[in-house]
């Protein structure tokens, strides 16, 4: 093969490779966007006291995509980090005009003894939780323990009042009350992943 022809073949091959890589990348992006999140199980219903008044039930909010968090306000690290990440997702959803309309956040305190309405309101204000679309819920210890148990959240109260609790206790529930994903909290939580998954479920409607 003469050198000029060899060079042309080389350029052509490189071009084909680049095109293939571009096509493959685009296809993967499209595919991951289109692929539905699997269903984990039907979300157990609950009815708990809303710190802003009245009762809130999960099934009463059917029709919205919901992110359900289990937390306690005295938790100094993993819970506020998770709530802060959720507040960032809240801001992104507001920009898309979805927050409160198609998407709602529910935070359930499992420490009713220390997490009074007032303590939770202060926590919510400190963490920039916009309660127009983010409901903060509490109940008796028996009620919240029962809800946590139904969701597979491990809770163990210690003698000093602190809690041993699961780190995988953030649930994405679709508009039909199905759990579609469970996330790790704290450092392990991927805010981008949660945001993308919420958008995916919002588009399913």
């Amino acid at each position: 093969m003469d050198p000029a022809r060899k060079r042309r073949v080389g350029v052509f091959s490189t071009l084909i490779l680049v095109l293939l890589a571009l096509a493959g990348g685009s296809w993967w992006y499209w595919h991951s966007e289109q692929q539905k999140l699997p269903t984990v199980m039907p979300a157990p219903d609950f009815t708990l006291q809303n710190i802003d008044g009245g009762q809130t039930s999960l099934y009463g909010e059917r029709g919205k995509v919901r992110l359900v968090e289990f937390f306690f306000a005295n938790c100094p690290d993993i819970c506020p980090l998770t709530t802060s990440n959720m507040a960032n997702v809240q801001d992104q959803l507001k920009q898309k005009d979805l927050f409160g309309k198609q998407v709602e956040f529910l935070s359930i305190s499992f420490d009713p003894e220390r997490d009074t309405d007032q303590v939770l309101r202060e926590y919510a204000d400190r963490m920039r939780m916009d309660r127009s679309g983010w409901k903060v819920l509490r109940g008796t210890e028996a009620q919240t323990s029962q809800v946590a148990d139904a969701y597979g959240v491990y809770l163990e109260k210690q003698a000093d009042g602190s809690w041993v609790h699961s780190t995988r206790s953030l649930y994405l529930v679709d508009a039909d009350n199905q759990i579609r994903k469970v996330y790790n909290m704290g450092d392990e939580m991927s805010t981008d992943e949660v945001y993308r998954d919420i958008l995916k479920l919002a588009r399913e409607k």
């Binding site: 490779l17 938790c75 780190t167 704290g186």
Partner: protein
């Protein structure tokens, strides 16, 4: 050029594998709750002498090697002033800090521990002697 033809079936296989994968993630199972044992060296610690504070984290006697551990320390005589220090792991379940205390006191330490499965924060006390 012909050598690159293998790329086409490879990409097709990759695509088909991707199409068929629908991950299902079960609800979290009951997590492994760690046991945390705290010790100082020496015991008690002494004022103005460096000592170590160590939390040993195990599950069923097996060391937990990939936990995140932070010590939150305060003394009885200055209870409002809490200091938080990240502990270093020796990859064998021991999480330690080295510290010199300038004041003899009864101190408290909350051991903030996050493992793959659970978060726990036991509080214990220790002494710094004159």
């Amino acid at each position: 050029m012909k050598r690159m033809l293998w790329l086409i079936p490879a990409l097709a296989a990759l695509a088909l594998t991707g199409c068929g994968s629908q991950k299902t993630e079960p609800l979290p199972a009951k997590p492994a709750v760690p046991t945390i044992v705290f010790a100082t060296n020496p015991t008690p610690l002494h004022v103005n002498q460096e000592g170590s504070l160590t939390a040993t984290v195990t599950v069923n006697t097996d060391p937990v090697k990939q936990a995140t551990v932070e010590f939150e320390i305060w003394g009885d005589s200055d209870a409002a002033n809490h200091e938080k220090l990240p502990a270093a792991s020796d990859d064998n379940g021991h999480y330690s800090i080295k510290k010199t205390f300038a004041k003899a006191d009864i101190y408290h330490v909350t051991i903030h521990t996050t493992t793959r499965d659970v978060h726990t924060m036991p509080t214990v006390e220790f002494q710094v002697a004159p």
